[in-house]
Structures are given as structure tokens and as C-alpha cells.
């Protein structure tokens, strides 16, 4: 029982990490139709920047907030490169892969290749149904939930969210209503950056990150986003949790060597399902 709970809690925390990244994918895709494969890079950069700020003596809280802000700015920078001129969404996607590779190289130069971590919030572990749970897990879940709820409320319940959705739905008509579609696109990249940064700073105390960790983060975040057809933040959360929990149970009960393979097998099934659904919708 205690092992089961341990895997479940770890899986849920990983799930929220993927959900944050997935929501980044969703927001950027909804506004720009670009799948931003630099999404995982924001998490690594955010985490590493927080690490360096903490080492430089800045207190917890301030370091993490500054790192998230930096990740948002990096998102903005990547967005302004990926949305240059009148690139098609596919060209922008390829550009984001290039930016992810570039950011890996820069990260390796600045922080070297050793995986990094820092201590999260302290305090005694909580004991719950026989599993001892680090408080950081609760922080991951709590902060993620608040962030996701606020974002969902803004996107689905407010005028600003409508304007963002409108830019994606019909850029031509949106422009005529006075919306600066390019600016909305940049905003969506900055939000993606902030979400990646939040994921990074929350998770680093639990799972050390290395400079090339962004690839698997991007893939699993993307997989979770596909769960919601790349447009639904709610389903992206469900997808994130599904992947996080599957991954931890496979690692725990079977072998850690298989955890990525299992998650990727799930991704392939999902992609097949999504492709089929797209075709059915296209036919209608």
C-alpha cells in the first residue's frame, strides 16, 4: 500500500509538471497554431536560473519568481523569432526545434552537463496512508492547481481570453476588430515561457534536471496536450496526470528503464486516435 501511494503521489506531481507544460503548448497553439517544441527548454532554463540565483544567495520565493519571469521573457524572445515575418505554422514549429537545440547548447555552456537540483521547501515529510510525502509535492500540486485555474478562468471566462481565441479562430476578422494578432501570438509565447518556468522551478527539488532534459519534457508535455486535442487546457491536465501516473507505476512495478517507453507507447496510441478524429471532423 505504501509503495502504491508513493508511486501515485510521485505520479501526480509529475503529472502536474506535464500539465503545466501541456498548457503552455495549448495556449501557444490556440493563438498561433504553432506547436512550440521549445516548451521543455523553458522548464530547464527556469529551473537552472532559479538554481543560480539561490546559489548567489537570493532567498527562496524571490529566486523562483525571478526565474519564472526570465522564462517568460525567453518565451517572448523565442516567440518573436518563431513568428518572424509571415512564417507558416510548420516553419515556426521547425524554428522552435532549432531554438530548443540552441538553448540546450547555451545551457550546457553556462551550467555544464551535470544534472542540477536544489532543496525545496523544508519541514518534516507528511505521512499519508503509509507513504511519506515530501512537502514539496504538495507545493507542486497546490501552485500548479492555482496557476491552471487562473489561466483557465482568464481564457474561458474573460474578454481577454475571447480576444486571444478570436485571433486564432479568424486572424483576418480579429485584425479588423482592432486586435493586434501578432501581439497576441507573442503574449501566448510569453505565457508558455512562464508556464514552463513554473514547471521547472517547482520540479527541480524533486527531480534533478540536466541541460538536455527539455526533450523528454517537451515530448511528454506535448503528449498531454494532444490528450486535449491541443486546444483544451482541462483535458491537457487529465492527460498530464495520466502520463505522470502511468510513468511512475511502470517505473515502480516494472522497471524504470521502461517508463519512457511506456509513456511514448501511450503517446503513439493517442496520436493515432487524434489523427483519426481530425479526419472524421474534416469529413463532416
Amino acid at each position: 500500500m505504501s509503495a502504491f501511494m508513493q508511486y501515485l503521489v510521485t505520479g501526480v506531481a509529475r503529472g502536474f509538471l506535464f500539465a503545466l507544460l501541456a498548457t503552455g503548448f495549448v495556449i501557444t497553439y490556440r493563438v498561433t497554431k504553432v506547436v512550440n517544441f521549445a516548451q521543455g527548454a523553458y522548464a530547464v532554463l527556469g529551473g537552472f536560473i532559479a538554481y543560480s540565483l539561490l546559489r548567489a544567495g537570493l532567498p527562496h520565493g524571490v529566486s523562483e519568481a525571478a526565474a519564472v519571469l526570465a522564462a517568460a521573457l525567453i518565451g517572448l524572445l523565442f516567440g518573436s523569432i518563431a513568428l518572424l515575418g509571415n512564417m507558416t505554422p510548420i516553419a515556426s514549429l521547425i524554428t522552435t526545434i532549432g531554438l530548443a537545440l540552441l538553448s540546450e547548447a547555451v545551457t550546457m555552456l553556462l551550467w555544464n552537463t551535470t544534472p542540477l537540483t536544489y532543496s525545496g521547501i523544508g519541514g518534516r515529510d507528511l505521512v499519508f496512508l503509509g507513504a511519506s510525502i515530501q512537502r514539496q509535492y504538495l507545493l507542486v500540486v497546490g501552485v500548479s492547481l492555482v496557476v491552471l485555474l487562473v489561466l483557465w478562468a482568464v481564457l474561458d471566462r474573460t474578454y481577454v481570453g475571447k480576444a486571444m481565441t478570436a485571433s486564432a479562430s479568424n486572424p483576418y476578422a480579429a485584425r479588423l476588430s482592432g486586435i493586434n494578432v501578432k501581439r497576441m501570438g507573442l503574449l501566448s509565447f510569453a505565457l508558455g515561457g512562464a508556464l514552463g518556468g513554473i514547471a521547472g522551478v517547482l520540479i527541480m527539488p524533486l527531480f534533478p534536471l540536466s541541460y538536455d532534459g527539455d526533450v523528454s519534457l517537451s515530448i511528454l508535455g506535448f503528449a498531454a496536450a494532444i490528450f486535449g486535442g491541443l486546444i483544451s487546457p482541462g483535458l491537457a491536465l487529465v492527460g498530464g496526470l495520466a502520463f505522470g501516473i502511468t510513468e511512475q507505476f511502470v517505473a515502480g512495478y516494472w522497471s524504470p528503464a521502461n517508463q519512457s517507453a511506456a509513456a511514448l507507447a501511450l503517446l503513439i496510441l493517442l496520436l493515432l486516435w487524434w489523427e483519426r478524429r481530425q479526419r472524421v471532423e474534416g469529413a463532416q
Partner: protein, 260 residues
């Protein structure tokens, strides 16, 4: 004059689609702009909206030159428009579609909405209120919660007008709003435009169909091959020799006489 166009020229290759056009529309007027196919009506419309740039000439709105401004900036000054081809925001309700029209006067940003700051708290209810008023005004109240793409064509046209009204425009540009409408839908549209006019809204109505324009416009300007060939009240225009010959000369196919 709310809208003043002087010496306006726009060429496409060797064709002068708009050739030395002068046009002045005072505030509160519903101006009709008609002409046979290829007369340059749509080109003129897009020059005013900002989707095309003129080769020469000036366009002043409320005394300010606007010919170099992009469409979004013109929208912020108070120029709104509806298209002949309906442009909707798919997957959004009628109310949500209309709310987007408010963008030309809202000021609050994403962060303010996320943190529920004052400007957001002040503007959000106002946006909804104006959108609902525009929906009411255009007779769409019972469809407010319906997905926009589910409306019939006549209602979609009304939705575009509602979206434009939500921006509280000073000038409304309408590109062939009656095209493709059924008889009863046309009557509703005539009624709506007449109502907006009586409330003092300035409109520039580009139309192919003389009958429809005559029912609503104060003054009609007739274009032919890029030039203004006549201007006057509907009665004057219908009796004008140059107009009759321009329409007869180019429309033996009869599209001037009925709606396609």
C-alpha cells in the same frame, strides 16, 4: 465632414481601379456607394478600411489623415466594418463574437485580467453590457448563447453588424450587406440600417443593388471604372442618364437589377 477623400488613386497593374476619387461624407449621413461590376467600389472600401494602400491621395477621418494607418489603428479611431463574406469566430457563441468587437476601445491587458486588477474589473462588465445592447439592437437576443456558425446567413450578417456596433464606431462601413439575403431578411436589414441612421450613426454602404440602396441611403455616389460619375439623392440617381447608361452598358447580364 467625418470622412473626406481627395484625389484618391489606386492602380492594379495598368488598371486604375480607383481613379481620382473625391468623396465627402458628413456626420450622420448614410451614404450609398454603387456601381456596376468592376467599378472600384470594393477597392475604395478597402482603401478606407486600410486593407489597401492608395498610390496617391488623402483620406481624412474626423479631420485627421488616416491613409497611412493600418486597419487596427483605424478601428481604434472609430471606423468599423462588416464584410460581404461573413467572417465569424468559429467555436464561439454569438455573444462572444460580438464581445470581440469591443477591442477597439478596451485597454486592459492579460495580466490585469489574470490578477483581476481595477481596469479589468471596470471594463469587463461594460464590454458585456455593450455587447448585449448591440445584440438586442440587431435582433439577435434569442441567439446570444448559440454558436455563431449555426446561424442562418441573414443572422450572421446581423452578427457582423452587432460586432461592429460593439466597438461604438463613428463610421460604419458595410460591404454588400444585402448580398444573398432572402426577401424578409432584406427587409429586416433595411429596417435595422434605417434605425441606426436615425440614431445618428454615419455609414458608408457599398452595394451592387440600386433598389436596396435607394431604400436606405440619404445620398448615393455612383462609381464607374474607378471614377465618380454621379452623386445625389436616390431619386436624382435613378433619373441620371450617365448612371443608366453605365448600368445598362455593363450589365446586360442583369445583375444590377436583381440580387445575385
Amino acid at each position: 465632414m467625418l470622412l473626406e477623400i481627395e484625389d484618391l488613386v489606386r492602380r492594379f497593374g495598368g488598371v486604375r481601379a480607383v481613379d481620382d476619387v473625391h468623396l465627402a461624407v458628413p456626420a450622420g449621413e448614410l451614404r450609398g456607394l454603387i456601381g456596376p461590376n468592376g467599378a472600384g467600389k470594393s477597392t475604395l472600401f478597402y482603401l478606407v478600411s486600410g486593407h489597401l494602400a492608395p498610390d496617391r491621395g488623402t483620406i481624412r477621418f474626423d479631420g485627421q489623415p488616416i491613409e497611412a494607418l493600418p486597419p487596427a489603428a483605424r478601428a481604434r479611431l472609430g471606423i468599423s466594418l462588416t464584410f460581404q463574406t461573413v467572417h465569424l469566430f468559429q467555436g464561439m457563441t454569438v455573444l462572444e463574437n460580438v464581445m470581440v468587437g469591443a477591442h477597439s476601445w478596451t485597454r486592459h491587458e492579460f495580466v490585469e485580467a489574470a490578477l483581476r486588477l481595477r481596469r479589468h474589473r471596470r471594463e469587463e462588465p461594460l464590454i458585456k453590457e455593450r455587447a448585449l445592447a448591440a445584440i438586442e439592437r440587431t435582433g439577435l437576443a434569442e441567439w446570444a448563447g448559440t454558436p455563431a456558425e449555426a446561424l442562418p446567413l441573414g443572422r450572421q450578417r446581423a452578427l457582423q453588424i452587432a460586432r461592429a456596433l460593439c466597438s461604438t464606431p463613428k463610421l460604419l462601413l458595410l460591404d454588400e450587406p444585402a448580398a444573398g439575403l432572402r426577401g424578409d431578411e432584406r427587409r429586416q436589414l433595411t429596417h435595422l440600417l434605417a434605425g441606426l441612421r436615425s440614431e445618428g450613426l454615419t455609414m458608408l454602404l457599398v452595394e451592387h443593388d440600386i433598389g436596396f440602396v435607394s431604400d436606405v441611403a440619404d445620398i448615393i455616389t455612383v462609381l464607374d471604372r474607378g471614377r465618380v460619375i454621379a452623386e445625389g439623392t436616390p431619386a436624382q440617381i435613378r433619373a441620371d442618364e450617365a448612371v443608366i447608361s453605365a448600368y445598362l452598358g455593363s450589365s446586360m447580364d442583369g445583375d444590377a437589377l436583381d440580387v445575385v
